[in-house]
Structure formats: structure tokens, C-alpha cells
């Protein structure tokens, strides 16, 4: 162990574009979170804090529980039959698993972007306007404004401003994923969860989404699950490493990727397994 600490492996060149990890206030706090799918325990005693207006990356091999933890944050696991959670998850100090909590209101605050782009089979405009409409916005001008500003924030406006009435499914994969991000932004969330948002995309589209994440970080708390460690190192402020349902290590990405404290983290980020 001492030997490892003495010569830290430089797994990846840390890009310098990001400011140091913010000391922002805690947005999401998880304490002793266990998640079960029927008998199988997918998460074991996860405790971590996610900072406001920062990008937090969750990494780990397949089946390690990182996506389960992400879906616990907007209660999408509720949709899985037999899923059960113990422990506490707080957002801004409110327990999101408190009895009687309005899940719909929670999901409005905590938006989610999925692994594969999943635009609805309707026009670009209607895709973005879907969320606001669901939440009661009826005024046409207001909807048009929301659609434009959401697409602009998702860096898609210039590409689709002449195609608003065309089917969203006609866009390219990368455009579709940015459309899905815009769709989430249109409901004005505080937190954006991204579940491997680039895994179905080509490198150029991936780059654009990463650029977009850096911009969104100004206003949103972002949690991203990724298989791509370079991506985690490039974009995130803090990183958590999951293994077999446990959180092995959590800390500023600059430290975790250069001087991991745990042997298993080091083995993973240097590519010995996973």
C-alpha cells in the first residue's frame, strides 16, 4: 500500500479546462442507502454527498450499482417490480422517500437523460413542449419561448430551428440525445441525471455533449453515469467508484484518477479489470 501511495499512477492526463472542484453546498445527500431487487441487494450502504452546480461522475464495471443509484435519485426504480430502498436520500435536505412525497414533483426537479436517445414519435417542437404542457403551460407564445431557450441551452437550436415541425426521429443520434437533454431542460429541473448519455453516440457527438455538460454545470447539478473513464476524468468535478454494490471511493476527480486511495479503484482505472 505504501508503495502505491509513493508512486501514484498517472492513469490519465487531467485536462486543465475545469476549475478545481467547487466547495458548493451539498445538493443531494445519500446516507446508508441499500437497494434491493427482490432478494438481490444491488446497493450496500451508499453514503455520499453531491455538490450543487458541479458534475459528479459515477463509474464502475457493469452491474456495480451505479445506474441503480442514479435511478434512486429520481425514484425511477419505483417502476421496477420488486425494487425496494432503505436508508435516506435527501435533496436540499428533504427526504425524497418520505411517505406521501409527490413523485411527479420530484421528477420535475430531477430530470433524467437516458442511455439511448428516446425522443417521442412527434415533432421536434412537441418533444420539447411535452414536459411544459404536462405541467400546465398552454400559452402558445410561452411554449415557443421555452422550446427556443431549451434548444439553445442544449446547443441544438441552430441545427433544428428550421425543422421544428419535422419528426424528431429524423434527427441524427447525437442530435436526438441533445434533443432529449433540451426536453429535460424545458421543465426547469435543478438536477440533471445522465445515464451513460454518450454510449450510443459517435466521438464527435460525444464531444458536443461533453461541451454541453460543462456549460450546463453553471446552472444545474449534474450526475452522470459513465463507462468511459476518460469522459469522467474530462468532465467531472467529483467521481465515485462503485464495485459490487458498494461505493469504494469518492472524491475530487483530479485526485481519484491520479492518486486513488483504494487498490481496487486503481486496478479499475488502470484497466486491470472491468
Amino acid at each position: 500500500m505504501e508503495k502505491l501511495m509513493a508512486e501514484p499512477r498517472r492513469a490519465f492526463q487531467q485536462p486543465v479546462s475545469l476549475p478545481p472542484a467547487p466547495d458548493g453546498r451539498v445538493k443531494i445527500a445519500a446516507r446508508g442507502v441499500d437497494v434491493f431487487y427482490d432478494r438481490f441487494q444491488a446497493l450496500k450502504g451508499i453514503t455520499l454527498e453531491i455538490r450543487e452546480k458541479a458534475i459528479t461522475a459515477l463509474i464502475g464495471p457493469s452491474g456495480c450499482g451505479k445506474s441503480t443509484f442514479l435511478r434512486a435519485l429520481n425514484r425511477m426504480n419505483d417502476l421496477v417490480p420488486g425494487a425496494r430502498l432503505e436508508g435516506v436520500i435527501q435533496i436540499d435536505g428533504d427526504d425524497i422517500y418520505a411517505p406521501g412525497l409527490d413523485v411527479v414533483a420530484l421528477r420535475k426537479r430531477v430530470g433524467m437523460v437516458f442511455q439511448a436517445p428516446n425522443p417521442f414519435p412527434m415533432s421536434v417542437f412537441d418533444n420539447i413542449a411535452y414536459g411544459p404542457r404536462v405541467h400546465g403551460v398552454r400559452d402558445k407564445h410561452q411554449l415557443a419561448e421555452i422550446v427556443e431557450s431549451s434548444l439553445q441551452r442544449a446547443a441544438l437550436w441552430d441545427e433544428v430551428k428550421d425543422k421544428l415541425r419535422e419528426p424528431a426521429l429524423a434527427l441524427s443520434g447525437g442530435q436526438q440525445q441533445r434533443l432529449c437533454i433540451a426536453r429535460v431542460l424545458a421543465v426547469e429541473p435543478e438536477v440533471v441525471l445522465m445515464d451513460e448519455p454518450c454510449s450510443a453516440l459517435d466521438p464527435i457527438s460525444t464531444l458536443r455533449i461533453e461541451e454541453l455538460m460543462r456549460v450546463l454545470r453553471e446552472n444545474y447539478t449534474i450526475v452522470i453515469v459513465t463507462h468511459n473513464m476518460q469522459q469522467a476524468a474530462r468532465v467531472s468535478d467529483e467521481t465515485g467508484f462503485f464495485l459490487m454494490g458498494e461505493l469504494i471511493e469518492f472524491g475530487p476527480s483530479s485526485g481519484l484518477f491520479t492518486t486513488p486511495r483504494d487498490r481496487r479503484t486503481e486496478d479499475y482505472i488502470t484497466g486491470r479489470f472491468g
Binding site: 411527479v104 414533483a105 421528477r107 420535475k108 411535452y130 414536459g131 404536462v134 419528426p167
Partner: protein, 328 residues
């Protein structure tokens, strides 16, 4: 069949012109495989292809012949009665040579519309329940059961209607008789429901799974996700399901013959006995003298029925295509 190789050699240049074959030898597997493949192996596909083509053509020819036969005999009607009197006449007294089919057309229309009004909302709601709400166990048990209902012979449905529904209708609405248009509508709806439910459910299940979490993650309720995203995505399938159900209802004969009372009078409400076009043909065809005016008039009704069904199918088809075009 003995001259099989003949048409093939004649056809081959069409399938793979030499020039194309030379430039892109892989484009035509038939051409490329020819030298080494034994002659026998290519007969199977050739035969299958031709059989399918012949069958397809045969079906089209038969349908055309039926239509021509219907047209020939149906149009004879107008030697005895004008088109306006035939379609607009209020009296159907074939023995007195009065062939006004308006009561029959309206009768069919009333009964069918009544059936649609009952079956479409119920069927779509049931499909939504099975596809989206019911636990897997329940929907897996219910769906085959519902599909079995489609196999009940229409005579049996009519009989159940006579025994169970007719007295009930009479009591509930305080009518002199329970043999009414409404009775027919309810039974037709019952017969169309399995088709509508089964096909609409298939359409809903075929909607990509990713749409639901996508909508829910935006803060939509389950109902909003269902109504705003899932159901519209399955729209063309649901419409097709309704059209097929209506198709079944409009052509159904035996059930309506048994329970609608068969009074060829102009129907004012669904709560009175009425008579449909199909029931008229079924009931009277056996009693007419062949090639008499009555005989031709019944074919005339058949022609009208055919045209109505044709227009409905055409409209459904156009609607479906327009929908598909817009979604893509």
C-alpha cells in the same frame, strides 16, 4: 409444369441483365450461383415463387369476378326501379314491386353506429388496461380468454341475445318488444370487441419501451404518459383495430337477423325493431323467384352494401397511410 425451365431462361435477362451482372456480380445471387449449383436446387424457390404469384393473382381474379357478378345482377334492378327510388324510397314491399331501400340502409347504419359507439370506447379502454395497467399475470390470462370470444359462432351470440338480452331490454326500457336495433348493436359490439381489444393491445405493446420512462422522468403522471405519448405512438394500430371491428359489425348477418325484429320501416330510434341490409338478403333470398325483380333488387342491396364497405375500408386505408406518413 413440364416446360418449367423454359420460362426461367426467358425471365433471367430481366432479373439480371448481362451488363449489370458483369459490373456487380454479387448483386444477383441467382446469376452468380448458376455455374456450380445443381439444376434441381433452383426449382424449389422457382416453384414456390410461381405458386405464390398464381395464388395472389387468383384471389384478385376471384374477387373481381364476384364484383362483376354482383354488378351484373345488381344493376338489373334499375330496369324495374330508378336509382333515386331505390336508394331514397321509404317502402320496401317487394311483392308489390316497391323497392325502397332507405329503411334497410338506415337500419344497417343505426345498428352499426350503435355498435361502434359501444365497442370502440370499451375496446380501446380495455386494451389500455391490458397493455398498461393490468399486472402481467392478469393480462396474460385475460388476453387469450378475450380472443376465444371471437370464435363464438354468430348464431350462438344471437341465441344468447334472444334468451338473455331481449327480455332485459324490454324490461329496462318498458318496450312492447325487446327485439330492437339496440339489442343488435349491443350484440354486434360484443362480437367486435375481441378484434378491437386484441389488435389495439398488440399495437400498444409494440410501442418502444423507452417512451414511458422518458415521459415519466419529465414529471408526467402515468396517465399523462399513456395519453400523451404511448397511445399516440400506437394510434395507427388502434385505428386499424377499430376499423376491423367495425368491418366485422357491418357485415354481420345472423345475429342481427335474430334479434333486431326485422321490421322494414324507417327507424326513428334504436329502441324500435328495424331491419338491416344483410338480414334482408339472408331472409328473402330463399323465397324469391330467380331472375325476378325481387331477386335483382336483393342483389342491388348487395351492391350498395359492397360500396359502403368499400368506401369505409378505403377511408380507413387513406387515414392509416396519412398517419404513417406523418409519423415518419
Amino acid at each position: 409444369m413440364h416446360d418449367m425451365p423454359e420460362p426461367r431462361t426467358r425471365e433471367e435477362p430481366l432479373v439480371a441483365p448481362p451488363a449489370v451482372g458483369k459490373l456487380l456480380p454479387l448483386v444477383s445471387p441467382r446469376e452468380g450461383r448458376r455455374p456450380e449449383a445443381p439444376a434441381g436446387t433452383r426449382w424449389g424457390p422457382w416453384l414456390a415463387e410461381k405458386l405464390v404469384a398464381i395464388n395472389g393473382l387468383l384471389v384478385i381474379i376471384i374477387v373481381l369476378l364476384i364484383f362483376l357478378f354482383l354488378l351484373r345482377d345488381g344493376l338489373q334492378t334499375f330496369r324495374y326501379v330508378t336509382v333515386a327510388d331505390f336508394l331514397g324510397g321509404r317502402n320496401w314491399y317487394p311483392l308489390s314491386e316497391e323497392f325502397g331501400t332507405l329503411p334497410l340502409i338506415l337500419g344497417s347504419l343505426y345498428v352499426t353506429l350503435g355498435a361502434v359507439a359501444i365497442a370502440v370506447p370499451l375496446g380501446v379502454a380495455c386494451a389500455l388496461y391490458l397493455a398498461e395497467v393490468a399486472p402481467v399475470m392478469v393480462s396474460e390470462a385475460l388476453k387469450p380468454t378475450i380472443e376465444v370470444l371471437a370464435g363464438i359462432p354468430s348464431v350462438v351470440v344471437g341465441f344468447i341475445g334472444l334468451v338473455v338480452l331481449t327480455p332485459a331490454i324490454r324490461e329496462v326500457f318498458h318496450l312492447p318488444t325487446g327485439l330492437t336495433g339496440l339489442t343488435g348493436s349491443i350484440l354486434l359490439a360484443f362480437m367486435a370487441l375481441p378484434t378491437i381489444i386484441s389488435i389495439a393491445e398488440d399495437a400498444l405493446v409494440a410501442v418502444p419501451k423507452s417512451y414511458r420512462p422518458g415521459a415519466l422522468a419529465l414529471g408526467a403522471t402515468r396517465w399523462q404518459a399513456l395519453r400523451g405519448v404511448v397511445a399516440p405512438a400506437a394510434r395507427s394500430g388502434i385505428i386499424a383495430a377499430c376499423m376491423l371491428g367495425i368491418g366485422r359489425a357491418i357485415g354481420e348477418t345472423m345475429t342481427v337477423l335474430m334479434v333486431t325484429g326485422n321490421a322494414a320501416v324507417l327507424p326513428k330510434t334504436l329502441l324500435q325493431p328495424l331491419r338491416t341490409m344483410t338480414a334482408t338478403i339472408a331472409q328473402e333470398m330463399g323465397e324469391t323467384v330467380q331472375f325476378s325483380s325481387h331477386y335483382f333488387a336483393l342483389f342491388g342491396i348487395g351492391l350498395v352494401l359492397f360500396l359502403i364497405t368499400f368506401v369505409i375500408n378505403l377511408a380507413a386505408d387513406v387515414a392509416l397511410h396519412r398517419m404513417a406518413g406523418r409519423q415518419r
